[in-house]
């Protein structure tokens, strides 16, 4: 042991212990036989060794398959000076507002490293908040506008068409070209400048208009294809001054809707839906009763307790009858027996609930009806309690339709040399008899500021790309007039200019940047307060003032129109609005709440009319109005009034870019100044057929299937397997109703589950069927949050749509029933504790976590689709093709040869679209199954942060995207371990039931609360 060095205490082997020189040498080298230099030194390289090395490296290069791949070169650049408050990877939220039809929706936009990725409602604004200060709702259109901003089809250059051909140029060029126009206008104003705007309540726009009018004579026109001006004019005539009515559905025990759709198609529908639900089944208040008398199937009508479908021409008569019966001096119109029967209990309810009831008329009915409705509201004590009248700005503004007609007349008379069109698309959506596009040619210079180089742009001499509302500053007012600042979240992607910038340029304002222009409008707000305004997203107490005036109750209605034949009713589209959102793939693929049609519009006909015409879904109909006609597929919609043809506007765009062109049929072709909303028409079947893509009930069910579906769904207002429901009266009589109806469920278990999936949380969800109005805001919220792709019409036809949450819509009642009940049931992954999907996955790509989530491991999934087969709820979605890089318009545009994609995977997605992806959620490749995860990324973001701070998680701190966007808070998510959480309470509610659980023992973590409706037995035949 004398060789043993003093420090060494451990030995590797006996040789090491003996410490021979060889061992000393080899022990000193870490990798004894590894000599990288020796291996490659050519002098010592034998032929055999060379072959060995080469063989090994070739094999390695071949094995990875990446050895020969050329990776794209990319550069990384750090900030030289970091923007303030920016922490990489931490999303920020900004309040802003989106203006549509002159009314703003308050929004909160999430931005990730400078890229806006998600739009939600502003939680501090009374017109979007759902949970005070914590969550706000936004409708599907507002949420989908993020896609519009990133749309690579948006116009990117100023286009000069004055010379007959298209010259792409830029803003500087445009301004220098315009300077001569401005000079000549300043020198000799002549007829001056004409400006056609979209409806707007922006204070900045108002300020700039004034400044412009001061510089040289300027005529302002305003046009919206879907205008609410009838209401404005009607109220003005009854009140003597213009006013805006704000409904308080939360205070109304009885609501009478005459073609009004406050929950679906009103500018304030998010707020109204939230108000409405406060008077639905709950502990504090009796369930309200909504009567809907309507000439179309609307969201409000489908959740109404008593509904009657009528011809549009009958609505006035019914309103008169109501007026007469509540004691107004109106001519009592003669009603049909059915109408009489419906009105009688309605009147009784109205008089029993004086001061707690409300009558509303749809915006498409003539002004006189609005005046009469106001008189009725006055009579029943609504004004001041369930209805507030507010001052309306721009009191003397002419009706939108008159304004456009006036402009067209002047254009035709060549009285206008220079016309600036700010937004809008009148060449597409103006009444056909005006021939606006033709008239436009008479203006020497016409400038169209627009997001897209669209139909109107092509008819103008100049097109200027517009900045999206997320790209430029602006301001707008909510329905009650509260002012909000539109904050941009990103520099204009395509060098667009806002409409304010355009006005400021013509007004000769010194400010050219949108922030300075807007700030000037609010110069009286100091900088500190300004920051507060931006943070909150609204200017406090800036709403319109209340109006108190006496109401002239002697309104008379114009004579009702023709009664025989078909009547056409033009409809605001639930997704594309007036057609301006046709370029949005998300909205095109969003199912219509009632018909479930995607990527198309159709002739909505009642089942009885369809039988009369001898057509079914998809059979082409020719609808002729006056001299014009369109051919469109029929859609047989239960609940559609007999004799009424519903035609959604906004389709058939010719210049809607790649997504929006040639989708559906342009129904504006039938719309004339004399009949903007209703008219009579001839309808004939052509014998042709067109396959309408719907996300539900696709391919006409055979009689067997229809019978079975109705049996599973149940009779009107009766519980059945899938849908449990009762009337408010039944439920009050017997609150244990739903527990007792439970069939003997199988609670037996072969073995105790290994875990209870509640460590440390037990995530659960509950959905109240009484609250869901089927608005589909949750579908878009989920799509944006979870990078859900669209698949296009041809793949929806094959039932491959990818939405993680769907709204199942069922009609209840006989096939002949003119007023069927509608039930909406949102279905996403039920997160079963006994998940059938998990047991059958051969690779364990879907498993349970300890908190009860059924999680998907995308990169483990090989795509056997067994999980989807075994899922009784069919909520799993499979990437049959590479949806993100696929062209969704394959049905219209030629595919690549055999549909082979040029390159696989996301590389084909435009960079700008990739900016929109939520970086917290994997973008799934083809061949992978996906599904709702209860927004696991949101759960973990919050729980990790809470754990790091050592705080307890409070109920409501985590919200799933669908829950957050729900205007009626029909969806509740939370921790079932917390007995006081809202979701625990809902799970214990007497109305709670689990879907299909009695049959299959899946133990879903999601429960439904049975639907409670409040029909009046006398009114509902």
């Amino acid at each position: 042991m004398k060789h043993h060095s003093a420090q060494r205490e451990y030995w590797r082997s006996l040789e090491h212990l003996a410490n021979t020189p060889e061992i000393q040498q080899s022990a000193s080298a870490e990798f004894a036989s590894y000599e990288p230099d020796g291996m490659l030194s050519m002098s010592s390289l034998t032929r055999r060794r060379f072959m060995k090395l080469m063989g090994a490296s070739m094999a390695l290069a071949g094995l990875s398959l990446n050895g020969c791949r050329r990776w794209p070169e990319a550069k990384l650049a750090p900030y030289t000076s970091t923007p303030p408050n920016r922490i990489p990877g931490i999303p920020e939220q900004y309040a802003t507002m989106m203006e549509l039809g002159g009314v703003g929706s308050p929004l909160l936009v999430t931005s990730y490293d400078g890229r806006p990725i998600k739009i939600e409602g502003n939680p501090t604004h009374p017109f979007s908040e759902t949970v005070k200060g914590r969550s706000g709702a936004a409708d599907a259109i507002a949420q989908a506008s993020i896609l519009e901003m990133y749309d690579p089809d948006r116009s990117k250059a100023v286009i000069n068409r004055s010379g007959g051909n298209e010259i792409a140029t830029d803003w500087d060029h445009f301004t220098s070209a315009m300077s001569s126009t401005i000079d000549s206008l300043t020198a000799s104003p002549g007829s001056g400048l004409a400006i056609l705007c979209e409806a707007t309540a922006s204070l900045t726009t108002t300020r700039l208009k004034a400044a412009l009018a001061k510089r040289f004579p300027t005529a302002f026109y305003e046009y919206e294809a879907l205008s609410r001006d009838n209401e404005r004019v009607g109220i003005k005539s009854a009140l003597g001054q213009p006013a805006r009515q704000v409904l308080h559905l939360d205070k109304a025990a009885v609501v009478v809707l005459l073609d009004a759709d406050p929950l679906g198609a009103h500018p304030a529908h998010v707020r109204y839906a939230g108000d409405w639900v406060k008077h639905r089944p709950n502990k504090e208040k009796e369930t309200s009763r909504v009567y809907a008398i309507e000439s179309a199937m609307t969201i409000s009508g489908s959740v109404a307790d008593c509904r009657m479908g009528v011809r549009p021409s009958r609505v006035g008569a019914i309103l008169s009858a109501i007026a007469a019966q509540v004691g107004l001096a109106a001519a009592a119109a003669s009603l049909t027996a059915e109408e009489e029967a419906f009105i009688k209990p309605l009147i009784a309810d109205l008089s029993a609930n004086s001061g707690k009831s409300l009558v509303a008329v749809g915006p498409h009915h003539p002004a006189e009806m609005h005046a009469m409705a106001l008189a009725i509201n006055d009579k029943i004590g609504a004004i001041g309690s369930t209805l507030t009248l507010l001052e309306e700005p721009n009191a003397d503004r002419p009706h939108h339709f008159d304004s456009l007609a006036d402009l067209t007349k002047k254009l035709k008379a060549k009285q206008i040399d220079t016309l600036v069109i700010l937004g809008g698309n009148p060449a597409y959506d103006a009444p056909t008899d005006l021939d606006f596009a033709g008239a436009l040619k008479n203006a020497k210079t016409s400038i169209h500021l627009s997001l897209y180089d669209n139909e109107t742009s092509h008819a103008c001499t100049w097109h200027v790309p517009r900045a999206h509302y997320l790209e430029a500053w602006g301001d707008a007012r909510a329905w009650d007039g509260t002012v909000s600042i539109c904050q941009p979240l990103i520099e204009p992607l395509y060098n667009g200019k806002s409409s304010d910038q355009m006005l400021a340029f013509f007004a000769g304002e010194p400010e050219t940047e949108s922030d300075a222009i807007v700030r000037k409008t609010f110069a009286d707000i100091d900088d500190l307060a300004w920051r507060r305004v931006l943070n909150d997203g609204l200017v406090k107490d800036s709403g319109f003032k209340k109006v108190s005036a006496t109401i002239n109750s002697s309104a008379a209605l114009p004579a009702a129109g023709g009664q025989s034949g078909y009547e056409v009713r033009f409809l605001q589209d639930s997704k594309l609005y007036d057609g301006r959102f046709a370029t949005s793939g998300w909205l095109q693929e969003l199912p219509d709440p009632l018909s479930k049609i995607v990527w198309d519009n159709a002739v909505l006909v009642s089942p009885r009319d369809a039988a009369g015409l001898g057509v079914g879904v998809g059979d082409m109909l020719k609808v002729t109005v006056g001299g014009a006609s369109v051919e469109m597929p029929a859609f047989v919609l239960p609940g559609q009034p007999v004799g009424v043809i519903g035609l959604a506007l906004g389709y058939g765009r010719t210049m809607g870019e790649h997504i929006g062109s040639d989708v559906g049929v342009n129904t504006y072709a039938l719309r004339t100044t004399g009949a903007m909303y209703f008219t009579s028409a001839q309808v004939t079947a052509t014998g042709a057929y067109y396959d309408l893509a719907t996300t539900q009930d696709h391919h006409l069910f055979d009689q067997l299937g229809i019978q079975e579906r109705q049996a599973r769904v149940g009779e009107k207002h009766k519980s059945a397997e899938i849908i449990r429901e009762a009337t408010a009266a039944e439920y009050k009589r017997d609150p244990q109703l739903f527990q007792r109806n439970e069939e003997g469920g199988i609670s037996l278990q072969l073995y105790e589950p290994p875990r209870r999936f509640n460590d440390p949380h037990a995530w659960g969800m509950a959905i109240d069927l009484s609250r869901c109005i089927g608005c589909h805001a949750c579908v878009i919220a989920c799509q944006a949050e979870n990078n859900v792709p669209i698949v296009g019409r041809d793949n929806v036809l094959k039932s491959r749509q990818m939405h993680w949450i769907r709204i199942d819509r069922y009609f209840k009642g006989d096939a002949e029933d003119p007023n069927p009940e509608v039930v909406f049931q949102p279905v996403a992954c039920q997160q079963c504790e006994n998940a059938p999907c998990e047991e059958v996955c051969p690779v364990g790509a879907t498993t349970h976590d300890t908190e009860g989530l059924n999680v998907m491991v995308y990169n483990r999934c090989v795509g056997t689709r067994y999980c989807s087969n075994n899922c009784p709820y069919k909520v799993r979605r499979f990437n049959y093709l590479d949806w993100h890089s696929q062209d969704p318009r394959h049905d219209k545009y030629p595919k690549p040869w055999l549909g082979l994609p040029d390159t696989q995977q996301i590389e084909t997605v435009p960079m700008v679209e990739r900016m929109m992806y939520n970086p917290e959620v994997t973008v799934r490749m083809r061949g992978v199954m996906e599904k709702c995860t209860f927004c696991i990324q949101r759960i973990h973001n919050t729980t990790i942060a809470k754990r790091a701070r050592g705080e307890e998680l409070k109920d409501g701190e985590i919200m799933t995207a669908c829950q957050q966007s729900c205007p009626t808070q029909a969806i509740v998510f939370g921790d079932l371990n917390d007995a006081n959480s809202k979701v625990s309470k809902w799970h214990q509610d007497k109305r709670a039931y689990s879907l299909l659980d009695a049959d299959l023992n899946t133990k879903p973590r999601n429960r439904y609360l049975a639907k409670i409706s409040n029909p009046n037995d006398e009114a509902n035949g």
Binding site: R860, V862, K874, Y880, G927
Partner: protein, 501 residues
């Protein structure tokens, strides 16, 4: 081909003009007709491979088969490059043609193993004439079947994750999934069937080797003959091995299709979740397999002059098994309907109501006619003896069994629990071409087999000849021609070892 009619039996056979289908209780019917002796059997079978050119019909069939095989290659390539979306599968219908074809082809394989293993253990000596063909059919059908699970997944390049391969990610397949059981069941089945087929073929390949005149053939057949020299020791080892493999293969006949049926039975979709599936699938598979054997053998015995070895008696027996299994299948259909109604389960009842009267009623009718009605003609001996009718029944069996899987797999998925998710299923052109292409693969392999390998188990057939048992003046034995290959006379007692008469 001059043979010497020495035995009394042959005389009887000649009297009945080659008809060995009569059941005269005094005699066992001959299993080889035409008065063939050992040499003639070898000559007949080996001639198929040795003649310079196969019949014209072979070229035609091969041309068609290769074209279809090429189509299959193109379809699979297209599928892998583009995605499963080129098929018609959709949201409720996750499995359609891919799995239908898989189950169909696995089912076809069953007749081969049944004939080679179960009939062997049950001493059904008539199997010797057709077992080789049937086993080959099994192997090729399993190859076709194995293709589909691999390509039907969304990411075929990762399909190997279904195998329990140790990897650095420490990921292991999920053993509760019936798809995993499939991997093992089909894998075992393919291995055992291949071994069984090959082991049985070794003596015959040796015969080919010995008769080959070209060097290449001698070497190739030589390699596969494993040095067989026909010694008693080789025969002894061979027969033990064959018996063992038969014993191993026998449970597989029942287990494979039972396991395949678990893919459906273990899930909870109405129409899938049925306990009758394992026996029902096995019966169906045997039915389908025999239908396929009939479909192949009818032209093969015509084309290759095998009528004396695959005799009418063989066809008769197969027809009877086909009819028996068809009635088992029919019984299963009835059971399913009865249970669906009797269970009181609304979803289950509707599925079967919908199956017979819903939008896919036509396919149910095709299935029922082909599987239950058409085989009933086989009650008549006239029909059993008419090869055209037999062939048509064989086709019916294949078509019917394919539609049975179509009825069960995609059709049940089209309408399950929530009516909102109901959606029809229709195949695309790629689906149809892939199905056609799989027949191309099968037929190509089968035609190559016919041309280059012993299509009949010569060694086994020879043991059925009277000569194999001519041990002195045992006139009773001489009349027998249905000896088992392992049946020998004990030289001491001079009595057959397995005498059980």
């Amino acid at each position: 081909m001059a043979s010497v009619p020495t035995t009394e039996f042959i005389r009887i056979a000649e009297q009945t003009e080659g008809d060995n289908t009569t059941d005269d209780p005094r005699f066992r019917a001959p299993l080889v007709t035409g008065g063939k002796n050992f040499a003639a059997v070898t000559e007949t079978v080996a001639n198929i491979a040795e003649r310079p050119a196969p019949p014209q019909a072979w070229y035609v069939a091969m041309g068609v088969s290769l074209a279809l095989l090429g189509l299959l290659g193109a379809m699979v390539g297209y599928l892998i490059l583009t995605g499963v979306g080129v098929w018609g599968n959709n949201q409720p219908v996750g499995w359609a043609f891919g799995i239908v074809n898989f189950v169909f082809w696995v089912g076809i394989g069953h007749a081969g193993t049944l004939i080679s293993a179960i009939l062997y253990l049950f001493r059904q000596n008539w199997r010797t004439g057709i077992n080789r063909l049937a086993e080959a059919m099994t192997i090729f059908a399993v190859i076709c079947a194995a293709l589909f699970p691999g390509i039907h997944v969304g990411r075929p390049w990762l399909a190997y994750w279904l195998f329990p391969i140790p990897d650095q990610m420490n990921l292991w397949p999920q053993f509760r999934s019936p798809l995993m059981w499939d991997v093992f069941a089909v894998g075992t089945y393919a291995t055992v069937s291949l071994l069984f087929w090959y082991v049985g073929m070794v003596p015959d390949i040796a015969t080919f080797r010995d008769r080959s005149k070209s060097k290449i053939k001698q070497v190739v057949y030589g390699i596969f003959a494993l040095g067989w020299n026909g010694s008693s020791r080789h025969w002894h080892r061979y027969e033990r091995a064959y018996l063992l493999l038969a014993a191993i293969a026998t449970p597989l006949v029942l287990s494979v299709h039972s396991t395949v049926s678990f893919d459906m039975a273990v899930s909870q979709i109405p129409g899938w979740h049925t306990t009758v599936f394992p026996p029902y699938f096995v019966a169906g598979a045997i039915y389908g397999g025999f239908a396929m054997v009939i479909f192949l053998v009818v032209p093969a015995r015509e084309l290759f002059g095998l009528k004396d070895i695959i005799t009418k008696r063989h066809m008769d027996n197969m027809a009877k098994i086909t009819m028996a299994t068809s009635m088992m299948v029919g019984y299963s259909y009835m059971t399913e309907f009865f249970i669906a109604g009797y269970s009181g389960d609304r979803n289950e009842a509707f599925t079967f109501h919908n199956r017979a009267l819903g939008p896919y009623c036509w396919s149910w009718c095709v299935m029922f006619f082909c599987n239950v009605v058409a085989p009933q003609v086989l009650w008549s001996k006239k029909c059993r003896m008419n090869m055209w009718i037999m062939w048509v029944v064989g086709i019916c069996g294949n078509v019917g069994m394919w539609f049975e899987r179509f009825e069960i797999i995609p059709e049940s998925l089209t309408r399950d629990f929530l009516p909102s998710s109901w959606h029809a299923y229709w195949p695309t052109w790629v689906d149809l071409c892939t199905l056609a292409g799989s027949f191309g693969l099968f037929m190509t392999l089968f035609l190559l087999f016919c041309r280059y390998l012993p299509t009949v188990a010569m060694a086994e057939v020879k043991t059925m000849l009277p000569e194999a048992h001519a041990h002195g003046a045992h006139s009773a034995d001489e009349k027998r021609t249905d000896y088992r290959p392992d049946e020998h006379h004990d030289p001491d007692t001079d009595a057959p070892r397995f005498a059980n008469r």
